[in-house]
Amino acid sequence: MEHLKTFYRRKYLLWELVKKGVKLKYRRSYLGIFWSLLEPLLTTIILTVVFGTLFGNTTKSYPLYILCGRLMYTFFSAGTKSATRSIRSNAAMIKKVYVPKYLYPMSSILFNFVIFALSLIILVPLTIYCQVSFTYRWFYLFIPLILIILLTFGVGIILATIAVFFRDMEYLWDVSLMFIMYTAAIFYYPERLLKSGYAFLLNYNPLYCVISVFRACILGTGLSNELRNIIFAAGFSVVSIVVGTFVFYKKQNDFILHI
């Protein structure tokens, strides 16, 4: 209760920190916030050319398939990375003024979410381009979106705590992200891997599960086959949030001695 009250009092600070992240991300670039649309579009074109044209993947919805994965992965990776660095990059402030420290990882994830939410707009023209029809399943998008933000927060707050004491975590995580990306079926279809003996790589990758749910909404295949993925991703997120909040809370008073 006490915590909720301080959180409520600090909501303006949270808002300012989120705003700062969004504003500074594209400051001094000519296209500004427009990049959040352009960047996923351009990478989708490149990936489509490489994996579609050159590797002979000619399914019509393939570019949309890639874009879904790319968007979700980009948010997860940007969010967890900036959460990992959030305590150190706000060291100057932490050393001088008392502010509830969870605001730093939280705001860095939220500002990435704002940029991610904006970039979702690009899904609309690409759906039309790929001649995929819009179904009522778009309304279910809130499920994967909630899942991805919970997952990012849970993983992010654990990493943020570890990174204070072991700076190597930042680099270690960059490498781990690459592994997570390749096992999340972003630019290939998962069927072959699912049938092989390595299906666990996908099935136990929470990011893959969320992406799969997300695609089911956009591509209109429906959620009936996704129940397992929803439950796994939700369970993973909740556990990581509980663990992360616990270690963060236990260790936050020591942060200042290490930054």
Binding site: R9, Y12, L13, E16, K23, L24, I94, K96, I256
Partner: protein, 246 residues
Amino acid sequence: MGKQTLIVDNVGMKFNLGSEKVDSLKDYFIKSLKREIKYDEFWALKDISFTLERGERLGILGLNGAGKSTLLKVIAGVFKPTEGTVTRKGRVVPLLELGAGFDRQYTGRENIYLYGAVLGYSKKYIDSKFDEIWEFSELGKFIDVPLGNYSSGMKSKLGFSIATATNPDILILDEVLSVGDAKFRKKSEKKIMSLMDNGTTVLFVSHSLEQVQRICNKAMILEHGTLVNIGGIEEVSKQYKEMIDK
């Protein structure tokens, strides 16, 4: 008057001085294998107790390393004390290092809102104080220039203006009245005085004994983290002088 705004009860602050700083996994493994990680305990503060009432102005005297800044940080809530408790009533505004919460890429205007939010003000409140802050900071048209292009004096002036735009219940000043040029220094001292007339409790650290005498009505002496004496400004500053001259 007579209302206690700050109660410092038996506060101690212990630091583990790692003989070598360990901040990477590799270091940690190597050093724990070689059993090189040992911690020397160091009490920067020990058994500090005192209370301040509304409107009291406490000067904290002591040589370098006496624990002055640590004490201020404990009171500001930046450090959590290893033992003991600090009870604060009302809003605490710390001026530990001016402009530490600023962002270089942000303009002066944006930084006023950001730093204001850090200090716990609402948007509406900052809106209403904006002109006052701007005027006091003497920034003029530089208000819309990114902070990276400011001189250090300009940054300090802006920090001071934001932090003092309100009536904090407890104001913590660490060597900050040496801000800016002589003119601004005079102005900021006047501003502090007017805050104090409104009942703000002040904790003040300065190496200038003369400045402490001018501003404070109480003083304390710290030595190696322990409280040597606390009392009226006359008596304590006399004792401090004798300590220095020894």
